[in-house]
Symmetry: none
Amino acid sequence: MYIKLDPQSDFPIYSQLIHQLMEGILKGDLKEGDMLPSVRSLAADLGINMHTVNKSYHELEKRGIIQIVPKSGAVVRLQQAEKESEHYTRLVRELKPVLLEAMTLGMGKAEINSLVELLVKEYKEE
Amino acid sequence: MYIKLDPQSDFPIYSQLIHQLMEGILKGDLKEGDMLPSVRSLAADLGINMHTVNKSYHELEKRGIIQIVPKSGAVVRLQQAEKESEHYTRLVRELKPVLLEAMTLGMGKAEINSLVELLVKEYKEE
Amino acid sequence: MYIKLDPQSDFPIYSQLIHQLMEGILKGDLKEGDMLPSVRSLAADLGINMHTVNKSYHELEKRGIIQIVPKSGAVVRLQQAEKESEHYTRLVRELKPVLLEAMTLGMGKAEINSLVELLVKEYKEE
Amino acid sequence: MYIKLDPQSDFPIYSQLIHQLMEGILKGDLKEGDMLPSVRSLAADLGINMHTVNKSYHELEKRGIIQIVPKSGAVVRLQQAEKESEHYTRLVRELKPVLLEAMTLGMGKAEINSLVELLVKEYKEE
DNA sequence: GTGGTCTAGACCACT
DNA sequence: GTGGTCTAGACCACT
């Protein structure tokens, strides 16, 4: 799996890494149950600091996407966003303000739907 | 227009104010071209700090929703999210990571679409 | 005794196993003096790694709930939380921060008591 | 407000700091709406690293106890553990295994209740 | 060899 | 002056 980080980007490195790892999971490069590389080895591979990788891993754990087993490593969790889970709740809380903003900027229901579809396709068909 | 702030919310006051003002615009309480109340008077009405209102106004301007005319006041802008505009670009940039997260958490295209529809309806029919 | 593990839970497998074994003891499926299944056979039955079972057993031993006799097996210990024992001390150390957090989040003495009663009942009446 | 850290303790410094700050809030040294000291100044006062203070603050924010406003500071949140909140859910999840362990160690309902009351009093009457 | 924790020091954007 | 981010390097416990 190829990870590309841009130190010049507006997005901090740890965000970019989160993003790339989520894409890796979506594309199937990382499957459920797979071990992620250790923070140290991934940091070395990417030429960044261990702590930066660590921050990304912990953020992904907070979002329910991976599970960190101390002293052992990190594993991709079985995914299924159950409606009652805290992760689903958080997701809705993140989605709401963005949709509100879209509507305030004048986008209609249809427009928003097609934008969402477009973006979703981007990931699925990559 | 009635604005309700919850000091014990997870969201900071200025976010809540942004949210409420956007809803006001959506519902038509504030129409395009309308003047917003002055920073000072709104702060007094809501019993919050002037700087907090100021922060909300500037955030709304950055998002292309209102326009601040120095020494004069703030006006609701004509809303039209043109695909080339910076506001549309920013919106897409905000939407992308949330959708990516949804998919990584195991939500499918259909599920995401129905969630988006649900949330959009919540605002439109209020 | 039936053990159910959920690989997609937020809790790691070894924690779930600890939990289930403790429930088994509470319900009386496993009585004091009973032998636990061997690490190997339980791992095979549950379709999980031997090391995972091992980790659960050692954690239960550290908590004074079972006793591991090398080369022989694991036995459910006589339960009695004496106030001077290290297990009682550890328990208090685990309980304290959770109660402190509850109070800091605004829960009163009565509320905490009723919550504790509720949760205790959940196990006893299962 | 006096904060005492023990570098020799089993508990990491950031945990001790979390603990002390929660006690400070409980005792009323820090009231709702109060600003916490900046990460830098508190670190300097305590003779520890900025990052350690930072970690404590973020953990307290995750638990809903304080609110961090980037570039501005951290404030004690209005506390009230609503039953629907994610913080309440987390609390219950933390409390459950400890109670289960207590019962497995042979403590009865009455014993657990009196232990909880004892510990709660310790904080309230300090 | 792993993640957990801690330190010291740096540059950044924004109030 | 604030928190956000990043780096480099260290010791620890436990697998």
